[in-house]
Amino acid sequence: MGKRGGYLVTGAIGAALSAGYLALAARLPLGAMDQPGAGVFPVVVGVLVLLSSIAVLWEGWRMPAEDAVAMPAGVDAVRVLALLGLLVGYVLLLPWIGQLVGSFLFCLLVIRLLSRTPWPWIALQAAAIAVTAQLVFVRLLQVQMPRGILGF
């Protein structure tokens, strides 16, 4: 898909988003002129999103079809998606396995994804990152990370 298609899709998503947003905003109280309610600003913003989505569609429509977008392909795309997947898995599991274990596993897999380092060496690096993060942020700076079922 070229840039033109990208613009048209983005504009369409934006328009749909603004329609849903406006539908929800319409349910908020508008209040009175001397007591403007919670709905006033969202209605204005919703209209603005709609108009700017139309602007995106318009610019996309007038764009030459041959403009390309540099999306990664093949192995490169797999690598990007794999990193994203690891990131999503990391943050979803974090509340249950805790910062220390979670970060260790995450770093382990990311380093493996991005390098050919042998596993024991990776494990060492990942452990170093996770433990340092734990010491600096959780112990020293008292960031109250989720403790996980193991208690740390």
Partner: protein, 502 residues
């Protein structure tokens, strides 16, 4: 006490061993915290707050102030080197800073930023010292009308700040405004767009959004290639220093940035971020090299970075002279004072002269400390670029996740970080500008708040927004800038035609 007497007394307080150590440590820790993505000045000061209870009040405040401007300075480092701003005040720095890094000028830019932060900070302290009680009145002059003019006019002026087509600026900006309305609004405590999920009621956390849009998106872009980009050639000391031309070009930007930052710091709201937006816009309008801004011009970095440090310093004015904190960081400093039983207010200068003058003197010391600490560290920061990618990326990601979580102790912010990372990645692919989205996120709540509060105040009379001379003046200025922006290309073209035609 007149300012000179006061300052001498203040230096007496600030130069004690433990206060000096607190200023240095604060500046150092602040820089480190600022460098880490997801951790900005607010997080840094909040983290240190419980520790500060253990110290003497002056020492605690000096350390917090050090962390504040240290983090403000440090936040620019990753923005320049990696295109990952640590918080909203460094977003503008990304644009030209990262371009300059690609050109191999990373060291020079960092040195310019350190110098600019020093100039902005130091000139601001002089202003704070001489005019604090008088300047505090300026904050009081600003009400809903004046702020609506500032924030609303700012939005109009800034929508196209980073170039690109019309839609490329306005679409992300309106998305930013839309995101800013999610959660419980402050005035009537109504939940909006939360779909019944209470966790969404706290809204989109700005730090997580900025780190996601820039940092996560940048990382996703980085891993597109199989190998890491070849690290920039080792930087030699001479290359780390700015050239004469770079100094000469930055000097006026330092001056303008200081003025803009100083003024914004006196006002409520996210003044550091707003001052960096305004300063970037000003550079684009008046700098001699305005056509280069956006493609790696030192002015685009020197201005905003000077401004946000000047703002960090002058934001002490409302705190010290009125006892009213106009931003999150000064609110934490106020809390620290109250814990120690210091009564902030207009009488602080008399009742707690050691606190008032000690903090002011420490600002001088801290600014020097920042410069002294950071010039040698530039080499260290630049060498971050040479850490192998497969080690560097997981570290950044782990810190970004912890930082986003730590702001509100909420996993929702972390989910927002990832989601906005993907959005930022895709929007960038299509050449949409991300800076306007952050501007929308920052200014949206301000516009809504001041619009509605102004109407409450006036009983529904819209004239309130143009009745005050200050508000009217700002709107006229906005109109002139917009008109100038529209006319400038035409005028310039005519000028060119005139010259070309005999």
């Amino acid at each position: 006490m007149d300012p000179i007497e006061g300052l001498l007394y203040g230096f007496g307080v600030a130069l004690s061993f433990q206060n000096l150590a607190a200023a240095l440590l604060g500046a150092l820790v602040g820089t480190m915290i600022g460098v880490l993505p997801g951790l900005g000045p607010v997080a840094g000061v909040a983290m240190i707050l419980p520790l500060s209870y253990a110290f003497e009040p002056v020492t605690g405040l000096i350390m917090m102030a050090g962390i504040y401007y240290g983090a403000m300075y440090g936040g620019s480092t990753t923005a320049i080197l990696l295109n990952m701003p640590g918080e909203s005040a460094s977003v503008m720095t990304c644009i030209d800073g990262y371009q300059l890094t690609k050109k191999g000028r990373a060291g020079a830019v960092l040195a310019l930023v350190a110098a600019g932060s020093f100039v902005g900070g130091t000139v601001s302290v002089v202003g704070v010292m001489l005019f604090a009680p008088w300047l505090a009145k300026l904050g009081i002059l600003f009400g809903p009308a004046e702020f609506l003019a500032l924030a609303g006019g700012g939005l109009l002026i800034l929508s196209r700040i980073s170039g690109g087509s019309f839609a490329a600026g306005i679409f992300p900006m309106s998305l930013g405004l839309m995101l800013s309305t999610v959660g419980q609004e402050a005035i009537t405590a109504q939940n909006r767009f939360t779909f019944g999920y209470l966790e969404l009621a706290q809204g989109v956390e700005l730090v997580a959004a900025v780190v996601g849009l820039y940092g996560i998106a940048e990382i996703l872009t980085l891993v597109e290639s199989r190998r890491a980009a070849p690290p920039p050639v080792p930087v030699r000391l001479r290359e780390m220093l700015p050239t004469k031309t770079e100094w000469r070009r930055s000097a006026p930007s330092f001056g303008r940035g200081t003025a803009v930052g100083f003024l914004f710091g006196l006002l409520p709201g996210p003044s550091a971020a707003m001052s960096s937006f305004a300063s970037y816009r000003l550079e684009k309008a008046v700098s001699k090299y305005r056509d280069e801004i956006g493609h790696g011009a030192v002015e685009g970095v020197a201005g905003p970075e000077t401004a946000n440090n000047a703002a960090a310093t002058s934001s002490m004015v409302p705190l010290l002279a009125l006892g009213i904190p106009f931003g999150s960081v000064t609110a934490l400093m106020l809390a620290a004072m109250m814990v120690h039983g210091i009564q902030p207010g207009p009488l602080l200068m008399q009742s707690n002269a050691d606190v008032f003058w000690g903090v002011i003197a420490s600002l001088y010391i801290g600014n020097i400390a920042l410069l002294v600490l950071n010039i040698p560290m530039i080499g260290l920061w630049v060498s971050m670029l040479r850490v192998p990618r497969h080690i560097f990326l997981p570290i950044i990601l782990v810190i970004a996740v912890i930082g986003s979580y730590g702001v509100g102790n909420s996993m929702v912010d972390v989910y927002g970080l990832i989601l906005l990372g993907v959005v930022g990645y895709l929007l960038r692919k299509l050449d949409f500008q991300l800076a306007p989205m952050v501007i929308g996120l920052v200014l949206g709540p301000l516009i809504e708040k001041h619009l509605r509060e102004g109407l409450f105040m006036s009983g529904g009379d819209l004239l309130v927004f143009v009745e005050s001379p200050i508000a009217l003046g700002i709107w006229i200025l906005v109109a002139l800038v917009l008109a100038g922006g529209a006319l400038a290309p035409l005028l310039r073209r005519r000028g060119a035609n005139d010259r070309s035609s005999p």
